[in-house]
Assembly symmetry: C2
Homo-oligomer: 654 residues x 2
């Protein structure tokens, strides 16, 4: 192991760090693309507007209700009332879920101006505020007589992790016009406390769960105080040198096995890995440290090419909730934790901003539609924690009143003993506008397609476009110029890699091929000018890399950004979807439903499942079996489900 | 859930329960077959004699040395010296490993008469003895001031589990001619204590790890005291009704989810499941409760047909060290814990004794050669804890001085923080003779083939045969009558299912087909009579059941009872064995090495591993690649390895 190169902390540091005027979770001081805030990007209709409505009307309240009911919010009251030692509820990181709920509320208040939600946010602040100690420490689990001492269990205590989510909630508050909010002040005292305790002369360690890093950088950006960024640098640089205890999972579990500049690929606990990656990109950008950004980019590129599910899901092991080896991607044991999907979006979005490479926006899109959108049920009151790609046995629908184990139930559950995912979904959906478009001094880039309005301030003035689309159900995207400037500017539209060479752009009545990447149309524009993009929405048959043992002899189906699946409720003629074999090409019916011709395999019971023949035979009958978007699965009761469906090869072979 | 049927505890209970005159770990009072002890079955040469030598010369001493070094044996001293609270070493179940070592020593003393080993056994007894409390309680982890109270953590505390291994060691001692041994007396006091504490009026619960059940039945058989069997009945009947706490893994982890009579298949932690199954069979036999034996038999049959690896390994999940769903048998994540293999042998051997069905002896054989024999390295000083069927990346060889995490290293390790496997291998190898042959009133059954001598007492007198074979390297087995009786008796030879219809029997110069199962040759015999069995030793190409997703498009190779594998040290022309594709039929070279023609697949790096084509191409060159017995793998340094090797289908397809 070689020692890490020293960061020149001054190089590239922006002069004007403070940024609190745009409502975004991430606001790098520089980069290839500049994010647009949630007041600049408005989603008015379609898929994501419906999801934001669901968040508004169900998810946020659901999360608050559960955390009240279980006493996770009440823990703060219990501290004040001096009964926390006997009464504390929830796991060691339960404070963080309250902060994630508050982040969701803050973005939602910013997005909608909802006064009653704002009052609920303030009420939470009033319960949390008295728990903060004079030196800024704030945690319901540690430090009082009868509790473990502060920072006595950095491996599992999650104290710094909890601050991280507190700071992100404070960023949401500060960036939605409330920089002087009481909660921002609480967070600042906590951040100051962290810098004092863990600074150069302080505790020479890190948190077992990365999160404080990404949060400190953003809090530094918002407040203009570079101490927070310096502290993030200390945390990122310290990790990887074995500063935490070795554990049964190994130090790779919390990325303390290798300095981040030396790693080749993401490894260990997938949420920890992606959160750390996001923080390191932010840090590299603020320090002007290209080698750090490049190191993380390489790790992400290798992770995408070898350790990511077709859904965008990350994490192949239940054991340690971790990445597997390269090409170890079992469908049935896919963990693909919802939070790891969100972590992946965080890291890939930051790489997009830093590099301008549309590949990372493709990853965000894939993850949005196939991980983030999969987690919540249609009611917004149940969630997948793990996102399997193959449900072997019909699951049981958990009771709406009970807490579930995080991955034991195959169906969506209302809440979990470890319930990081619901609040993570909620805060991400509330701030979703920020992921949709970016700008540069010379133009606007539409990254994700949804009906709505995008405004941006360019070097020469303000511009705005209106987007109308039924995406992802339809591939037509119509962009109309609503506001423009005198001179030239550029409208960019992302053409996803999955479109191949089939996307078509229509500008001023002219059709032309739209190659994969960012297609740019140069102005000047007139108000009312229309640009149309037609993305190919035929169903694609997708084959796995031959190194993925778990997928050999199977194909998946995709339509636009949607990964499809077959669910047993659509195949009543078989007991389990495992009996189905793809027997032809998919077709899109007039009812909008895609079907695939399939045969059944007749399975014989055998005393021993390994023999000189496969012991199976194909039905002569062919059935047209519907396949549907993966994110919809599990909403029609218990079922078995497959994303990857075997071809007939293994049955007829030999 | 229906209530369990009541056992009629008197029905079928044998009149004369006591059995201490035959040196076997299992001695049912009745059953289809009667076990033969280690002084009746002597292994003189070949594969298993070499393994017993390795145990004698290396394994036993290795285990003792490590447990001294780590202080697991010293824990008993620490209790006596009143410093256990601060000084205790090892996990909560470390006492059990000392008892398993002692069981190995006891069988080994019985087998070899080694006086110095006997003295080492006695020395351990002298250190353990003073730790036993007046009421019989004996555990270094619980019950003293500063420790958790006795039986305060039945879920994880392992107190009854530790007694179980103590009792099994005492059975080994008692059955090798020392029924009045000090250790047998210690065990009896402990067993009495258990009956008092957990009897009908006692604590209405069970141990989180089954083991006490199987041990109590055997201890009852040996001592002739039916209280122990009654207590085992209480434990078996109580489990499955949710008497233990629900945990993240679910109650199935410790088989407390379903009464044993209602379960369809083994599930949860695979060692726990197989130990419980063994105990329940023993109990069913002693109670004459056929329905209990049948229930476990059905569970085992279903486990063998759906949840067992081709190696005989059990346990598909690292998470919870547990069985997976039906047909969920990933090679790369095979846990297949060595102890679960031993547990499977325990349960299948008991089913064999109870039913006489040779199928269960087949399972024992498969597990002996491909799980038990795989665990220890050639030096007898390193062990596999988990037994993967696919090593993706070359592992690092653990230091001979350091304790390893149980499944994090891909190579054999000298010792583990949880080190149940080495002592389990050692005790099993020392008592291996007992698995080789059985008798009935009318004959002898040779179950496993090894050079040696088998003696048995039939109704009409004693008989003995001499076996000469180079099995499993060669399929010829020559059995010579050494002692016989006047009248008729039957010599039985097991023909494994893998032999198909190709085994040939030669009796008195006459060749005839030997069908799968037990082939019986009726006497009378003369001393010097020879019976020869010729088992087919051609290499077999084996295909997986089509329901096993992880194995689709792959084949395995078997030769005799040996599962074969390809290891990268034998394929220097590729980086990893994952590049190999089977391109033809196996052949056996004159040097005794099996080779398979294979092509390489040229793999291209791609940014995203899912596309409309597989992105791979086959080499035109074909290489003859050696395949070797799986149990030998990992003895030549770091390597990658596969049992199941892909065919060319996935590369050339579409």
């Amino acid at each position: 192991m070689t020692s890490s190169p020293t960061i020149d902390a001054k190089r590239g540091l922006p002069l004007n760090l403070q940024s609190s005027d745009i409502s975004v979770p991430v606001q790098p001081s520089h980069g290839a693309l500049t994010p647009l805030g949630i007041e600049q990007v408005r989603i008015d209709g379609g898929f994501w507007a419906a999801m934001q409505d669901l968040n508004s009307t169900a998810m946020i309240q659901h999360c608050e209700d559960w955390m009240e009911r279980l006493g996770w919010i009440g823990n703060f009251d219990a501290v004040v009332e001096n009964r926390i030692v006997q009464d504390r509820q929830g796991r060691e990181f339960s404070d963080s879920d309250v902060y994630k709920l508050m982040e969701a509320m803050a973005w939602e208040v910013g997005r909608t101006g909802d006064d009653s939600l704002n009052a609920r946010f303030d009420a939470l602040v009033d319960r949390i505020s008295p728990v903060q100690e004079p030196d800024g420490y704030l945690n319901t689990r540690f430090g009082r007589p009868g509790q473990l001492p502060r920072y006595s269990d950095l491996e599992w205590g999650h104290e710094l992790y909890c601050y991280g989510h507190m700071l992100q909630a404070a960023v949401a508050r500060g960036r939605t016009g409330r920089l002087d909010d009481k909660f921002v002040q609480i967070a600042r005292r906590a951040a100051d406390h962290v810098c004092q305790m863990f600074g150069s002369d302080g505790i020479q360690s890190v948190c077992g769960h990365p999160e404080i890093e990404v949060a400190l950088v953003e809090f530094g950006r918002m407040t203009g105080d570079r101490r927070y960024i310096d502290q993030a640098r200390l945390f990122v640089e310290r990790r990887g040198h074995g500063v935490l205890a070795d554990i049964e999972f190994g130090r790779a579990y919390y990325q303390d096995d290798q300095p981040i500049r030396e790693a080749e690929v993401l490894r260990g606990h997938s949420v920890r890995a992606t959160y750390l990656a996001a923080g390191a990109i932010d840090l590299g950008v603020e320090l002007g440290d290209q080698s750090l950004v490049d190191a993380v980019r390489t790790q992400m590129d290798n992770t995408l090419s070898r350790r990511t599910y077709v859904t965008g899901g990350m994490g192949a092991h239940h054991e340690g909730e971790s990445f597997g080896a390269d090409f170890e991607l079992p469908s049935d044991r896919a963990y693909a934790e919802t939070c790891a999907g969100i972590g992946s979006m965080m890291a890939n979005y930051r790489l997009l901003l830093a590099t301008g490479d549309m590949k990372y926006a493709d990853v965000v899109e894939r993850t949005l539609y196939n991980v983030l959108a999969t987690s919540p049920g249609e009611d917004g009151r149940s969630f997948f924690y793990a996102n399997t790609l193959h449900q072997r046995d019909p699951g049981t629908v958990p009771s709406a009143k009970e807490v579930s184990a995080r991955a034991s139930s195959s169906m969506r559950a209302p809440w979990f003993a470890v319930s990081c995912c619901p609040t993570n979904v909620s805060r991400t959906v509330a701030s979703l506008g920020a992921y949709m478009a970016t700008s540069t001094v010379a133009g606007v880039q539409v990254l994700q397609y949804a009906t709505g309005r995008i405004a941006a301030q360019l070097a020469d003035g303000g511009v705005a476009v209106n987007v109308v689309t039924d995406y992802p159900h339809d591939g037509a995207v119509r962009v109309t110029i609503e506001e423009t400037i005198e001179g030239a500017w550029t409208l960019g539209l992302r053409v996803p890699a999955w479109a191949g060479d089939s996307a078509v752009l229509r500008v001023r009545g002219d059709d032309r091929p739209a190659p994969v990447g960012l297609v740019e149309i140069d102005g000047p524009f007139q108000v009312g000018d229309v640009v149309e993009l037609e993305l190919p929405m035929g169903v694609r048959v997708v084959m796995p890399d031959v190194r993925i043992d778990a997928l050999r002899g199977q194909v998946a189906f995709e339509r636009g950004p949607l990964v499809m699946c077959v669910e047993s409720v659509d195949a009543p003629h078989v007991t389990k979807v495992d009996e189905l074999r793809v027997a032809g090409e998919p077709s899109l019916g007039e009812d909008g439903v895609v079907t695939v011709p399939m045969r059944n395999v007749a399975l014989t019971a055998r005393a021993w499942p390994f023999a000189v023949d496969s012991g199976a035979a194909l039905s002569s009958d062919v059935y047209d079996v519907p396949i549907r978007p993966y994110h919809q699965w599990g909403n029609r009761g218990s079922s078995t489900m497959r994303v990857w469906i075997p071809t007939e090869a293994d049955v007829s072979r030999r």
